[in-house]
Amino acid sequence: MSFFLDPFHYEFMQKALLGCLLVGFTNGYLSGFIVLRRHALLADGLSHSLLPGLAVGAIFFSLNPVGLFLGALVAALLVVLGGKMITHSSRLKDDTSIGALYIAAFAFGIILLKFAPVRVDLSHFLFGNVLGMANGDLWITYALSFFIVLVLTVFHRHLLLALFDPVVASSMGLSVAWLDYLLIGMMVMAMIASLQAVGAVMSIGLLILPAATIYLLSDSYDTMVWGGAFLGMASAVIGLLLSYWVNLPSGPAIVMVLSAVFVAAYLFGPRYGVINRLLNNRRTKRAAAAPSTVS
């Protein structure tokens, strides 16, 4: 038991554990909505678009977490709204216009970072460093996680309706476009909440893999959302311990744990797992062939 508990005698590991629990739960909870809305690729784009905002935050506020948060939020919103504007004013579709803008924003962000008054390690923003979480980072993560879970809980019925049947949701008087923006806003906030713990890019793993895994195992929406939250949390803690024991970077370790569970669900899931379905198909074919061989 001490094997598991010993690492948490250090204060930096206690903070890291809190950060992992919060980020794992919030991202995992949100992942159900993202997978059902098929926003996985948009999330990937948005994560890269945070960079110029982080660079502007670093230039004007040094590395103050609030400055970084505001910069990242504004950058992501500009990319989303700019992408939507291009979609509405041209023949391009959302994926292309947002795809074009996010990579431009990412390149712009890398160039901007050269002008930051403090030395900024790019990989720190992209892949995080949960072992370096300060109190300020934890407070930002607390506040954002609470806000995201609260908003998703208040609007979960509206979101569910809009995700399942947007046309009927609209006919019932819901603004499906507004709900979509709300979901995108929560995605951006979750990425920012995850910046210090797992980084902008690795946060995509926590925003997609938990619900994607549960979706391969369960037919229940509630299980997908809550199971995603608990899987995200458990994987984040296991990844943290792995990174401590084996001396691995923590963000990638967390994502590798989630990926391993995902692959296991894909292969061995009792109902939708590939191996089980192959075996079932073979059994069905044998059963169908059996009478004809007898007769």
């Binding site: 059902l36 809980t153 208040v154 609007f155 979960h156 019925r157 509206h158 569910l160 309706l161 995700l163 399942f164 049947d165 046309v167 009927v168 609209s170 006919s171 019932m172 008087g173 979706y215 369960s218 037919d219 229940s220 929406y221 299980t223 997908m224």
Partner: protein, 244 residues
């Protein structure tokens, strides 16, 4: 008083990029009837259903239910074509029907006994009670259509707009759905159903609304569903206003 228990479509024109899909449509639909909406592809059937549901803006005219603007309220339920739904969505039949209560419940209010009773009644009326806990991806086409209807019933809507519900259904499923629609019409609801199979029209509907961009004919089945009107409705080109 004239507007009571009527869905009034008053000189409605709906356009896509300035090209009218429906032109000056003027009909008065009575509640308690099952109305077949007939016309060739591109005649404006789906557009009309969406316009009534408030999903398309009206270029001119107005639509009133019981004398009031009904758009985007729960008194009108729109049932999309089955192909537009992701049937792998992780939800049971009861979960789907529960959604009909969402507009009333908002974000916080929990499901009351009354909400549960309404959902159970919706499942019973649509003969889905034994399938309530089944995944929606395990439903047949007819059962999927009934699940849509059950959700509309749970929404306690007065008007149901169905877009091609009979398409792709076998004879038994058609018969089942027809009985359920008749039962709902018997409860005073108005059912407006777009449909393309002319052979089955006589056994399905009380009234027919024949449309080819503009109104060709509307009235009780026996009076209106005539070879002459069918020929006019399905003439290759949509009629130009004031056509010969």
């Amino acid at each position: 008083m004239a507007n009571h228990h009527h869905l009034t479509i008053d000189n409605v024109t709906v356009s896509y990029q300035h090209v009218p899909a429906i032109l000056d449509l003027d009909v008065d639909l009575h509640c308690g009837r099952c109305v077949g909406l007939l016309g060739p592809n591109g005649a404006g059937k789906s557009t009309l259903l969406k316009a009534i549901a408030g999903l398309m803006p009206l270029q001119s005219g107005e639509i009133q239910l019981h004398g009031h603007e009904p758009r985007r309220t729960r008194s009108i339920a729109y049932l999309p074509q089955r192909g537009l739904i992701d049937w792998d969505f992780p939800i049971t039949v009861r979960g789907m029907v529960d959604m009909g209560r969402f507009p009333d419940l908002g974000g916080w209010r929990g499901f009351s006994k009354n909400d549960g009773a309404i959902v159970s009644e919706a499942l019973a009326v649509t003969h889905l009670t034994p399938l309530a806990n089944r995944q929606i991806n395990a439903l047949s086409g007819g059962q999927q259509q009934r699940a849509f209807l059950a959700r509309a019933y749970a929404q306690q809507s007065h008007v149901c707009l169905l877009d091609e519900p009979f398409a792709g259904l076998d004879t038994n499923s058609q018969k089942d759905l027809r009985e359920i629609l008749r039962g709902m019409a018997g409860q005073g609801k108005l059912l407006l159903v777009s449909h393309h199979d002319l052979n089955s029209v006589p056994e399905l509907f009380d009234d027919v609304l024949m449309l080819n961009r503009e109104l060709i004919a509307f009235g009780p089945l026996g009076d209106v569903f005539t070879p002459a009107n069918i020929a006019r409705t399905y003439s290759t080109a949509p009629p130009v206003p004031a056509s010969a």
